[in-house]
Subunit: 347 residues, 2 copies
């Protein structure tokens, strides 16, 4: 059903029908009603491409999710983040365009999206320190919002982020307060900015309390269950094992728990763990009674919603100064932490 065909029915011109549907004032109330009725009856929807061509807007937001080419791991938080964002896009009449590209091709993907005019703006995922994409997007001239931060970026940018540094410092201090001295850090890939900042928070806490950081207790890698397990197995088998750990992802924490239990160690009694918890919908921590894990919690779905709103606002009124929304990850007490064992295994 065309606009022309739709217009022919009540015997009007396409112009008038278009105006009636888009709420322009210069159309009579009676006609507007007739048009609305006809449109409804024929299930009329304006053709996206034609409308976009005429208005110059794509009414779509792009999410470029980079795939580290080696092992093709897709971060499980994407699903929840995108579902949060998608909800807001839908409400505003925007589509969501997903681009899964090997990270080597990422720059080209951005340029393409702009040149082809496919999207009106985009979300930048998994930023690194001094992330090159920020300069690139400024150059290209596409509105964007970063999920996370990029320390040292030369140009300003909008972002929604979690107070990673503070959260991890608090988590580490909490463990220290419980008497732990050998505390491991099981981190995400430290090429990522969020991981860097969590590490800083961890280090600051140790330093403030006069505990020397031990490189043997710090590990970093893709946030998979296997990597959590590996880290746990290696550290717990070492001569002077940690009595506690701060962990960057609940999935890694599950791997770590597996490694502990394999050695007959119980979380919260023999080994304490504080993990970051993105509040993934299929992996709720503490949906029943006491949470399994003590955690720094921040809903990534909520972050998606906020990022979407910020981006839509940037598109609506360009030229605004970049904004920052900081989500605070609260420390949630669970069963995975407890006082350091007396005369800890650390000897």
């Amino acid at each position: 059903m065309n606009l022309r065909q739709l217009a022919a029915h009540p015997g009007l011109s396409p112009t008038t029908v278009s105006r009636a549907l888009n709420g322009y004032p210069e159309v009579g109330a009676a006609t507007r009603a007739r048009v609305a009725e006809a449109a409804h009856r024929h299930h009329y929807r304006p053709n996206t491409r034609a409308k976009g061509l005429a208005t110059g807007r794509a009414m779509a937001i792009g999410h470029v999710i980079p795939t580290r080419s080696r092992h093709e791991i897709v971060n499980p938080i994407f699903a929840d983040f995108i579902s949060g964002a998608g909800e807001r896009y839908a409400a505003a009449g925007y589509d969501l365009l997903l681009s899964v590209v090997p990270d080597a091709d990422e720059a080209r993907a951005y340029r393409d999206l702009k040149a082809r005019g496919t999207v009106d703006g985009l979300i930048v995922h998994a930023p690194r320190a001094e992330d090159a994409r920020i300069a690139l997007l400024h150059e290209i001239g596409l509105p964007f919002v970063v999920h996370g931060r990029s320390t040292g970026a030369a140009l300003p940018y909008s972002r929604v982020d979690v107070n990673n540094l503070r959260a991890f410092r608090r988590a580490t201090e909490f463990l220290i307060d419980l008497g732990h001295r050998r505390i491991a850090l099981v981190n995400g890939l430290e090429a990522m900015d969020f991981a860097l900042r969590r590490r800083q928070g961890y280090l600051q806490a140790l330093e403030t309390r006069g505990i020397a950081a031990d490189p043997a207790l710090m590990t970093s890698g893709e946030m998979t269950e296997t990597n959590g397990y590996r880290a746990g197995r290696a550290m717990l088998a070492a001569p002077d094992p940690p009595t506690a750990a701060v962990v960057s992802s609940i999935i890694m924490a599950i791997g770590l728990r597996r490694a502990a239990e394999e050695r007959g160690l119980k979380l919260g009694r023999d080994v304490s763990v504080v993990t970051h918890d993105d509040d993934l919908s299929y992996l709720r921590n503490g949906e029943d009674d006491v949470p399994m894990f003590t955690a720094t919690r921040s809903s990534v779905r909520e972050a998606g919603r906020i990022a979407a709103e910020m981006l839509l606002e940037r598109i609506r009124s360009p030229g605004q100064a970049p904004a920052t929304r900081l989500l605070r990850a609260g420390l949630v007490l669970g069963q995975s932490t407890g006082p350091a064992p007396r005369g800890a295994r650390s000897g």
Copy 2:
């Protein structure tokens, strides 16, 4: 950079440039080279919307992922499935459009996509038995491929699926062979077709071996860690607890393991578990040495790749008879299964 602007540069008409770029034969070799060079130099990409308008094709595939409005859980397999599919779309020059809609609005979402001409085809996720969407899409006239099956659907349709019934029958038989008699089923939502068929497989195995099914041992729900935990906790606390379970998702299995360990029971010794394993990229079962879980394994990312290819083929040559690709989930031996305890706790 326009087509017109691009054409002005080497002093050609838009027509010729368009033809040169799209590989039509009626353009001289020399001109074609000149055009290619100019296009490359100016990073020219044809405007998606204009191209789509002219050709009548959107060069985009839609994925409608329904959100059960109550708790907004997004199935964790979507990320991997979509990443597999997206890879193939990209290779074929297609975009991926994601629609996150409350399942009540799903029909309208499909009609909209068609009416607005936003996509050339789509993937149907999480089909139910006699799923209404199949008839709807036939009526609408959009090519589609179903991920899964819809038993009892009146009309034919293309699909890629796993042999759920056989896999779960085998898994159950395997446990029976190990001496287990009280075997639980921790299933996904049985509104979903895949869950129905897994249940059938489970029941068939019990029946064949002359074991009466016990409703108290069968549970069904959203595939979250919490639900796995709840099922495990309830069943293991019951008077006549199961010695084994078949589980529909590795995430539920992790919850089940947690419940078992809470009672001091060890998987593979006190309780045996066979779980389905979608080979999620961040939750690999058996990346190191022996798999944690004995599992029916089938890569959902691979399913995504195949579904994408089938759909693109359907779009390329319409009118083909619907096709079916059946992936076989092999039974992978892990540490979570062992012989039934002698004089099992079943008393």
